[in-house]
Assembly symmetry: C2
């Protein structure tokens, strides 16, 4: 018999247990109206497209890159390059869609954005003095990857604009005063998960300047930028003139979740102390060779074919689905306004787009309330406290709109109102 | 500017640097005859089969498991179950091909066997007192995963039969005397990489008994068992009556490397100290949720379709390719016998099958000799010293036969003989 106390500490962390509980609740209450799932909409899922994308990529290898048929076949079916095979297509996509100009060599194709986060955090954990900062509330995948990398997470307040620079300065000073080394700040600058917040342009510039002045990296995670609303703001990486930004990307929301393809842009030079310099991306590739060897080239080919089919632009390809998310968000916001008039004690933010919004309510929001909501009221959502590395969110819940069904929005919100009135 | 000394220790380990060098040499000398690549043969690679397998799996979901079309589509294209979607097919495959009877719930589908190794080693690293033992010479992927998990590797001699039990007892006692906790022994019981050794049946039983008596786990890695030769021996997991064996598997050699699908069987109970018990597989799934979330369901569907197409038996499906590897091995063994008569000082083992054999030569075999061999003699191979966590293999080199071309075997061996005579 093994004992959990003799296994890695991440397995005993409350964050891991609570995530399991959240995943379970949708399974235990399948009939509940769900505002919990952060998964992409499924209306446009198309299996024929998977076949077509695969063929399109093979065609590209042969016709545009001049590979003989057996070499093209080998590239998709054999073990492959650790850093991936669609890095050049991703570089073009980043230039076209996001104005990010980076050499393809600085891109590592990963098994979803989760692996990208783990590779970066593992690399940055040089010793017990290292910590990572995260805008809080934060994405639970970041918390999980940090636990696995034995890297403590220090929360930084988000404030109304997505990051509170005064709090960031305070946390930097406090961690250094403890003898710790803050390596990076993790954030989602556009329509964040879970808060829905987006950083204004001026704040992006100030944050980059602070990262330079205080010598830390920015881990920019941008899975929802395509769904960020009408006004487009440049990503931190697009504004990054000093290679301060490590950019994390995902095709799960913009192409196909089931491909499990993401990437990291890491164009930072790393000195070996003996006069030689490597690209951080190459060192992340070394770590990747110990975790997954390489990202399935079949899955990469599917995403590569999607990029080729849409002329490297996923903004263009996602026009319809972006409209669907905007409609869902509007439905939920309208429904909230009708049910909770001003002064009622229930408030919420109005994100520019994305998948999530946050409700603040005049009672404690915890797993017990969620259990009551699921079992007695037939509606599920996510307690915000799970997204805070420290304390926080005790009166808040997250509503996800990505899989909302227009026919049940009102029913779900009625049930939520009944719960909150109980 | 970042500094490598401030990054994770695995990035500064000589084992990582040397693996990079080995990967590079094939790229730098593409014209050399190669006995270095451990990759599967490519003669039977078939892209049409990928499409067919995907369709076969979808058909299975709908016709045999009764899923409506949209649910089947969702299973392949949406985020999915952390432990995977083809666990039941893998459980049947293990019963049919290997006589391993385990509940499907004890299987975690992973991004190749590499992720399986990392998940297990990360889980078993509870504290700085934990170490893993490995039969030495050992697979470099194990060394890499252990580096990444901060888990020291203690070598155990292989001896002529694949593991030297006397040395194993000595290493167990020595590590415990140091206050360390040996958690598991890693080994490849059938036609190992790199040694080609296979454990006789009696030794398998003795090893299992010792694991029980001395309270450690066996990490059985079995990627080549299908190619193990005429006489079939049961895997350790098939003989395991006390759940001492964690079984690691891969479809890279038996199906398609480019799918990057492997798995781990972990049916061990884990007590939480408060009266509750989990399956180790479920805890590995929790770690997987922090590394890759889930293995690409598209890639799993391709492998699932392959299993369905071949009635769950990869032994039957690999008859032709197994014959090809046997022919290659025979060609190389014959060629060696013709060039190095007894008393010449060059000796080698004669594995039952598999991809690899080991040559012992009367000179020092290191990276410098490999560089000379590649640049001046036009033949590449792998210095055995890279497979020893400690010292060892200084007079040995590994020859891989998996990608040998019958038309160039003699040329390659002539060049090798010329190098050794120089």
């Amino acid at each position: 018999m093994l004992h959990r106390s003799q296994l890695h500490g991440s397995l005993a962390d409350p964050a891991m247990t609570s995530m399991n509980l959240l995943n379970e609740i949708s399974i235990r209450y399948p009939e509940a109206v769900s505002f919990a799932a952060g998964r992409p909409a499924e209306q446009f899922f198309d299996l024929d497209a998977v076949h077509a994308y695969l063929d399109r990529y093979l065609d590209h290898l042969q016709k545009e890159r001049g590979l003989p048929p057996e070499a093209a076949r080998r590239q998709v079916l054999q073990y492959g390059r650790t850093k991936g095979i669609i890095h050049e297509l991703i570089a073009t996509h980043l230039a076209v869609d996001e104005g990010i100009e980076v050499p393809a060599e600085s891109i590592v194709v990963t098994v979803g954005c989760q692996e990208a986060m783990f590779l970066v955090l593992r690399a940055l954990r040089g010793g017990p003095e290292d910590v990572v900062l995260a805008v809080s509330p934060t994405y639970v995948g970041l918390t999980g990857a940090a636990l696995l990398a034995d890297l403590p997470v220090r929360p930084v307040a988000d404030g109304p604009d997505g990051v509170d620079l005064a709090d960031l300065r305070r946390v930097l000073a406090a961690t250094r005063a403890e003898g710790l080394r803050p390596r990076a700040l993790y954030l989602v600058p556009d329509v964040a998960n879970p808060s829905g917040a987006s950083l204004p342009l001026a704040l992006r510039h100030e944050l980059l300047a602070l990262a330079g002045a205080e010598d830390f990296l920015l881990l920019e995670d941008n899975p929802y930028c395509v769904f960020g609303g009408a006004e487009r703001l440049p990503s931190l990486k697009a504004l990054d003139t000093e290679r301060r930004v490590i950019h994390l990307g995902s095709f799960a929301k913009t192409a196909i979740p089931g491909a499990r393809v993401g990437y990291v842009v890491a164009d930072q030079p790393v000195s070996d102390g003996a006069g030689s310099t490597d690209l951080l991306a190459d060192l992340l590739g070394m770590i990747k060779s110990m975790t997954t060897v390489n990202t399935s080239p079949i899955a990469q080919a599917v995403i590569g074919g999607a990029l080729l089919t849409h002329d490297h632009s996923l903004r263009a390809a996602n026009t319809e689905v972006a409209a669907l998310y905007r409609r869902n968000l509007a439905l939920v916001l309208d429904g909230l306004a009708r049910r909770f008039p001003p002064g009622n004690g229930v408030t919420w933010n109005e994100p520019r787009g994305g998948f999530f919004l946050v409700l603040t309510v005049p009672r404690v929001v915890d797993d017990a309330l969620l259990e009551l909501s699921a079992s007695q009221y037939g509606v599920i959502w996510t307690p915000m406290c799970h997204f805070y590395p420290g304390a926080g969110g005790e009166h808040q819940l997250r509503l996800s709109v990505s899989q909302v069904d227009p026919d049940t929005v009102d029913l779900g919100l009625d049930r939520l109102a009944a719960l909150l009135a109980s």
